[in-house]
Subunit: 316 residues, 2 copies
């Protein structure tokens, strides 16, 4: 195992911190899905996690270690919606104030839920404004700690909490979930292939793994997978990915929608499009499951009701 | 424990038969639900069961014991849709033919899924025809075994497979699931209260428990809980209920719809209205959860997509 920014010991410490607060989500196997692909597929249901997505684990591990005396203004973060909810809920649990910089076109239900978990939402224009600059200015002004959505060792360690498998598929935006889980899985099972899954047109992580250097996406918006549109990989997350991952694949909006519909019809699980990308990669055979045992991380279930209705009725 | 038509030994034998075929569905606890009711609520997710509802367990335990030489025509059943899928899937697994008598107005997706699992569907008019007479004539004509949806000791034993709790809430149509689970829970934990939940206007089981004799519903159709409209309790199921159950409550269509919406928004689980009745009873406080530990059986997830879309968008 090469020297990496996150160790298995950091992940074990995070798991202890999270035990009283995170949901121990089930790993499900379903006869209809196994029959469809001809192998065994295990679904790690992080759509059933507190706040409806895996983001709570990374946020809580980070925020529970923030010293309120050093940061009287609490915490600040940038997010398309799921990290926002994770930060708001974790900060409220820790008795801290939270402010989250969110795109003005984020799903309304993600904005509403972030507020309901106790967060202050600050909207920005995805095409014209720089969310990082807004967040960093807020941190200085309020004496608040910045909680990066993925490129922070404590966030990655928290997201790595939680299988001998031929392959594990993880949805990727910036790669905090994928790199954290990769360190944990590779420690327990070095022969397991780790695959990233992204929306087509937003496969910066897969291209970066292939080229060995950070690649950027051409567009900043335009996928139904609103959770998976980070512009480029993190420095920490790509370092871990280059050392330990097998590669990355991309799925189209139509393939992600078909996976959301499959989960509704057959699995009875609510997934948002970005949370279903890995399932789409298995259903389309982009990562083969035939005759193998593979696990798919179902990373989020915060589906916008109007869009979800169109997807399950076959209109999208 | 009084002498009853189903014993804990029959349930243990059923559990052995089912182990290689049924999904071991998770028992989930969710922070948002616990906070809402002020107690601990455990959700037994039978919407994640094979065929999308608990019915598979009872049907497989019965059908796997049917002798194909004595019944060359396979099996015949009557069902509003979930028992239909359970019988079709179990018969196909056992290499037997199946015919299911279903109401012509059953949800289209339940009819389509029953056929996909290998069942022959025979439609009848809920207001004008007698489904039992149609099914019994088919059994004679084809030399087929009849698989009752609830009032059969093997069906009840299968449904009883699978918690020290203050109370358990079970959705009831004829009571196969409720009576099977009651025998199993009461054996392990005599102090646990067992509660039935039915749609308002279709609370024959609750009224029968109160009066001590079988009561009938006035109407045969008209609830969005299409899975929970049996006309009266079974003889076996009521015998068990009278001996061991605390009582029954009823929920309105609006309350069931609100519970489906809560499961979509907060729990990320797909429930059909009838599968969400017990959750509705907890959310409305009809069975109190404050300061207690209660379990709710989420009995089915075969939601019609058009109706589901209206419910999650607040139109129903």
């Amino acid at each position: 195992m090469p020297t990496l920014p996150v160790t298995i010991h950091m992940i074990r410490a995070a798991a202890e911190r999270l035990a009283p607060h995170a949901v121990r989500t089930p790993l499900l196997e379903h006869p209809a899905l196994n029959a469809r692909v001809g192998g065994r597929v295990f679904l790690k249901c992080e759509n059933l996690q507190r706040v409806g997505a895996f983001k709570f684990r990374g946020a809580y591990n980070k925020i529970s270690q923030v010293d309120p005396k050093a940061f009287p203004g609490g915490v600040v973060a940038c997010s398309s919606g799921n990290h926002a909810q994770g930060v708001a809920a974790a900060a409220t649990l820790c008795g801290l104030r939270s402010a989250i910089v969110m795109p003005a076109d984020a799903p309304a239900m993600k904005i509403a839920r972030t507020k309901a978990f106790g967060g202050e939402v600050i909207a920005y224009d995805r095409e014209r404004e720089d969310r990082d600059a807004i967040a960093r200015a807020l941190c200085v002004e309020r004496k608040a700690a910045y909680v990066h959505p993925f490129d922070d060792a404590d966030v990655i360690a928290g997201q790595g909490t939680g299988v001998t498998l031929d392959a594990v598929l993880v949805n990727v935006s910036g790669g905090g979930l994928a790199s954290g889980i990769t360190v944990a899985v590779k420690d327990a099972s070095p022969s397991t292939e780790m695959w990233t899954v992204e929306p087509a047109g937003f496969d910066d992580f897969a291209r970066s793994l292939a080229s060995g250097k950070p690649e950027r996406n051409e567009r900043l918006s335009g996928s139904i997978c609103d959770a998976l549109m980070a512009e480029s990989p993190g420095e920490l997350t790509l370092t871990i990915g280059k050392a330990l991952m097998a590669g990355g694949v991309a799925v189209t909006d139509a393939e992600a929608a078909a996976a959301v519909r499959f989960a509704f019809e057959e699995l009875k699980l609510v997934l948002e499009p970005g949370g279903a990308a890995g399932l789409a990669a298995i259903l389309t055979g982009k990562v083969p499951a035939k005759g193998r045992s593979v696990a798919v991380i179902l990373s989020g279930g915060n589906a916008d009701p109007a869009r979800y209705a169109r997807i399950i009725n076959g209109e999208l």
